[in-house]
Amino acid sequence: MARKVTSRRVWVSTTAAWFFGFLIFLPILWMFLTGFKTELDAFAMPPVFLFFHWTTENYATVQGRSDYLHHALNSILIAGGSTLIAMLIAVPAAWSMAFAPTKRTKDVLLWMLSTKMMPPVGVLVPIYLIYRDFGMLDTRAGLVMILCLGNLPIVIWMLFTYFKEIPKDILEAARMDGATIGRELIYVLAPMAIPGLASTLLLNFILAWNEAFWTLNLSTSDAAPLTVFIASYSSPEGLFWAKLSAASTLAIAPIIVLGWFTQRQLVRGLTFGAVK
């Protein structure tokens, strides 16, 4: 029996939910609007909400003055590179723990997880010195490496929880029919694993894109991704809010859209399967 829902109750909860949802979203919306204002309108008091002189000038300035595309490319290469390499290392490891578990598998998993809980600042000094001595400061390769290692535990965990849900009987059946491990991987495992692989890839791309401890500490210009590029706006130089807003909109828009596709995986990925 469905629970009785009065239309009054629907109306009240809908209004309240939309109101609070809008309130939480407001800073992002406000930033988006400010990006299309002149600097004068951006500073106006009382604020102008929709009826201002819309301009796309800020977007041109952001690219012209500080080479936005260079930093966007860095973000794509660093987030993409670190995620892909992490996947290459994690897929075999997760496969092995899900399908050929040993007595120690649980301990290995929890140990991997505990590496993620080490505060990055605890190893800031040695990593910084190693990077300095090997000439890896402000290089894309250096950032790819550190973000890859930092996210590896989450990648392995997410893949492990997905692989575990694949019924083992199917694999046994394939093996009975004489499939080799290679064929088993391609024809049986892959089709069932692709959704899990895709969402792991997506979520970790987002996490790497937004990572702002190592990128701020290990890069300054050549390899600087968007997190660092935006941080350069923290020293004010005259009226710059519309430009800050335009640059910020460019930096977060693609990732918010990707993020909306991964909301469900987000829970799984960030709680390590503790909440389903």
């Binding site: 629970r3 008091m45 535990p153 923290s234 909440v275």
Partner: protein, 290 residues
């Protein structure tokens, strides 16, 4: 039952990941421990000498450490309180019959995907600016004096920014948990004449106990390391008012170039995080067997 062949293969496939994580964890950590026993300043190279536990004594008795420890605890505690106390009712609300629920969900979850440097600067300049920020305008509307957030209440300003970033996380996890609650149990309670409030108190709240614990532990792990938001808004100031432990260690390492002292501080941070991690790993481990 896995064959011997699969077991050998399994071990071979697992090795690279384990080896990499082991190196990534052990080598830098060992270096941190080693550095922490040295007098070692980058400004004065070639004068490294063994000083035993001197750096720890210095770091732990430094008034800056106590201040930043207090700031860290206030920051973590406040953000946890705000995200749980607002996230729970918000999740309950979205779980109600709401027209256009998926759009509301999208709006609520969005802040989580905003990179920390963007959210900090947008809040600082567009919302919290004492002259032309949205909050200042709101204050004048109700006849109040606008607050100069980063001068008068800098730590509170950082807390609000970080809470906005983590509220979606708490809400989304609690919402996911609510949606897995047994509907029939609630119906039965209602038919037996239970009020909405007692249904919430005796059925929903116990059901949420575990996800809330998970949210607390995971947020704590990440909140202990809040860095970028402080880096771009206050730089730890004014004075030490917004310096947390992570930022203190960063400034000792990369501003004062005191490697020995920063390493000692780094290990203190690792110990604090490990206390939390211990409980989190136990909860997750229990879940792994179920």
């Amino acid at each position: 039952m896995a064959t011997q062949q699969t077991q050998v293969l399994g071990r071979a496939l697992l090795t690279p990941a384990v080896a990499l994580l082991f190196i990534w964890m052990i080598v830098p950590l060992a270096m941190t421990i080693y550095f922490s026993t040295l007098h070692y300043s980058l400004l004065d190279p070639g004068t490294e000498s063994f000083v035993g536990l001197e750096n720890y004594r210095y770091f732990l008795t430094d008034p800056a450490f106590l201040t930043s420890l207090r700031n860290t605890l206030v920051l973590v505690g406040s953000v946890l309180a705000i995200t749980i106390l607002l996230g729970t009712p918000l999740a309950l609300l979205i779980d109600q019959p709401v027209i256009g629920r998926s759009v509301v969900r999208l709006m609520v979850i969005a802040p989580f995907f905003v990179m920390p440097t963007v959210s900090a600067l947008v809040w600082k300049n567009l919302l919290m600016h004492p002259v032309s920020g949205l909050f200042a305008w709101g204050a004048t509307l109700i006849g109040a004096t606008p607050i100069d957030w980063f001068t008068d209440a800098p730590l509170l300003a950082v807390i609000l920014i970080v809470s906005w970033q983590w509220l979606p996380f708490a809400t989304l996890i609690l919402l996911t948990a609510l949606q897995s609650q047994d509907e029939e149990q609630k119906e039965a309670a209602e038919m037996d004449g239970a009020s909405a409030f007692s249904t919430f108190l005796y059925l929903t709240l116990p059901h949420l106990a575990r996800p809330i614990t998970v949210v607390i532990l995971i947020e704590t792990i990440f909140l202990l390391s809040v860095f970028a938001e402080i880096f771009v808004t206050t730089g730890g100031g004014p004075g030490l008012q917004t310096t947390n432990i992570a930022f203190l260690i960063y400034s000792q390492a990369l501003i004062q170039f005191d490697v020995g002292n920063a390493s000692a501080g780094g290990l203190v941070a690792v110990v604090i995080a490990n206390i939390v991690a211990f409980f989190l790993v136990r909860i997750i481990g229990r879940n792994l067997e179920a």
